[in-house]
Symmetry: C2
Subunit: 423 residues, 2 copies
Amino acid sequence: MCTIKKVLVGQSGGPTAVINASLAGVIRQAHEHGLEIIGMRNGIEGFLEGRTANLTDLFHPARNHHTYGKQAVELLARTPSSFLGSCRYKLPDYEKDLPFYQHLAHSLASLDIDGILYIGGNDSMDTVEKISAYFAANHTDIPVIGIPKTIDNDLEGTDHTPGFGSAARYIATVVQELARDAEVYGKPSITIIETMGRDAGWLGAASALAREKNEQAPDIILLPEVAFDEERLISKIGALFECKKSIIIVASEGVRRPNGSTLLAKSKVRMDAFGHLADQSGNALYLAELCQKHFDCKIRGINLNSLQRCAIHAASETDLREAWQLGAAGVDALLAGKTACMVGLQRVSDTPYQTEIHCVAVAEIANKVKHVPADMISNDGCWVTEKALTYLRPLISNGNHEAESQEDGLPVFIPKLSQNNGF
Amino acid sequence: MCTIKKVLVGQSGGPTAVINASLAGVIRQAHEHGLEIIGMRNGIEGFLEGRTANLTDLFHPARNHHTYGKQAVELLARTPSSFLGSCRYKLPDYEKDLPFYQHLAHSLASLDIDGILYIGGNDSMDTVEKISAYFAANHTDIPVIGIPKTIDNDLEGTDHTPGFGSAARYIATVVQELARDAEVYGKPSITIIETMGRDAGWLGAASALAREKNEQAPDIILLPEVAFDEERLISKIGALFECKKSIIIVASEGVRRPNGSTLLAKSKVRMDAFGHLADQSGNALYLAELCQKHFDCKIRGINLNSLQRCAIHAASETDLREAWQLGAAGVDALLAGKTACMVGLQRVSDTPYQTEIHCVAVAEIANKVKHVPADMISNDGCWVTEKALTYLRPLISNGNHEAESQEDGLPVFIPKLSQNNGF
């Protein structure tokens, strides 16, 4: 095992509100151990083009040429979106494109890099796996460690992913607000709120937290894990209109028909380099048009779009803390001689909420998708179970950072006027 | 002048994050003066159907049957959307529909109402004017006072409207976040963010505050006050691409062509009872499709939709305070014998920010629209002047309630990595 002196770090995939908190954790921990830290610009793609940034020059108090102030690492941690820039770049297998990896090895050698950290989701763990596989085959002693990040929470090997808690808190908060907004006219209405999440329903499921503080929405959650049934949805909405006027539906972008096709025609759906749904799948719009055919009422489609993944103003303090800790743990893993691993969270207890950090082989998790399991989905397929809520609750907690009229990371509103408590 | 004992209060028009802060101000001030306070359910429309709620029963500490807790009025103030429900209901002229007003007078008499407060925007001030005109003609001694409310800030007779500051703060905040999110891949992209605001550009203009903390977006603001020029927009975007990759455009929903038509075909635009644009005008979508024809890059349309009017989680503390104060001032105006008036804010000084409350005759303001004046719009028509920023800044301030990494009501991010400060 070599002595590590200089570490390369990159951010990859879709940004989150707290991805820079992980980078901040990496930088602070690297400096604590006297390591120099170099950032890839735009992930592995930019690095291969020779684009880097010396983060020690920028952030080390002893070297900081007033580019950033004294609290720079803390400020970085509360800046949303990837500070180093990101990429969606699928690496070739090393057996198929040796020159690619030789170029990579040369680039690393020219900078004297002796450890790599890559912050990202399941696609990024594919990158970690491929680079470490090449190094293993070539007896190159440069450890590679993945640090999890994705609002989608679809990564195996960790209880949950940094970024998810903040997006979950944002979604639950705005669903509470939008539900209050939607019912002011006292007239029948359907509001469809679309979340991201690709093929996993975690973000949609998180909207169930909007009912934690005695609110009465959402009414229906559509998850990719449950095949979309148009007739059942329409009949469910019809039944809901029997007892309430304003109906709130949360639809995950990844909802699919029983035959696996997306709700929108294929031609309207864009796929990314990894074959995943690109954002803005348009389910809110599709469902709004569907409802329009069946119900004569106000119908509104709201796509939470990238708002949900960059809302640092509504971030979960638990999420921010864990993102930082996992960044620091990545440095620790390198120093402990680990490679081809991802640092992850293992839940020890729900109440009080406790986690431990562990290492998991990337080969076991890369390119896999962690779906919402069946025992977290209600029998009728359009709500979540208590098990899901128990899992979700601690992730949006703000601990001691609670703002006025907030509890457990959620806004608290005055109970609604019922039809009865009148004059 | 009669002695006022029982006041009727209603909320009307589109909800805001702080409309209940005005209601809270009304309730607290009414109780301070020993008045009983009755709420209209769903504004004047619900009242005429006999639907009311006794707010003294619900909120007075001496009468509170544990429906709401001790801090109920404070909790109400931080609950978004109209607690009493709302309506969009245009009253007939009393000369044309006397039975309508006789029914109203009868309903008021049956409840012993001797004062009316109506919280709303310019349409609601039309209601205040018509009711008070009928009372004046019939020598009915029931004063009617309007309390301003609208995120659109398009109401004459007040420096600004409660609700606007919170929506402005929300918009500036998310534009800062979305701009950071949009540029992570380092590839050319256009992001179009649509705001509400009807025919006034105040909400669009408020997005300029997103540049206050050294951020570099938005790049272009499209206001309804400036006729839309397709060619100029495309050439402006082309010029921007010469020096930056990620372009952020904020488009007000009310943007119109030189001939006054909306951007979308008329058939796609819904109008409300007052002939205004209904929400979701779809300009973001229209402009995204337009840009797609001219630029080969990632294009994203984001409609802030009702998110911007109910975001109590991002409310401005200044706005919350002023909303409450104007509610209380409405009660004071009734007690001072005023009628056919709206209470409004008069700005005394920008720095330090100081306002005074005054009364203005509703006849002078009802159904009028306060546009962004020419001297607040830059010469090229797609940005705002320093005068506009001076006007806007204090409205989003949080005073002493600033969260971590916030200044002047806005998030503060770490400066971006430039192309130069690399390795």
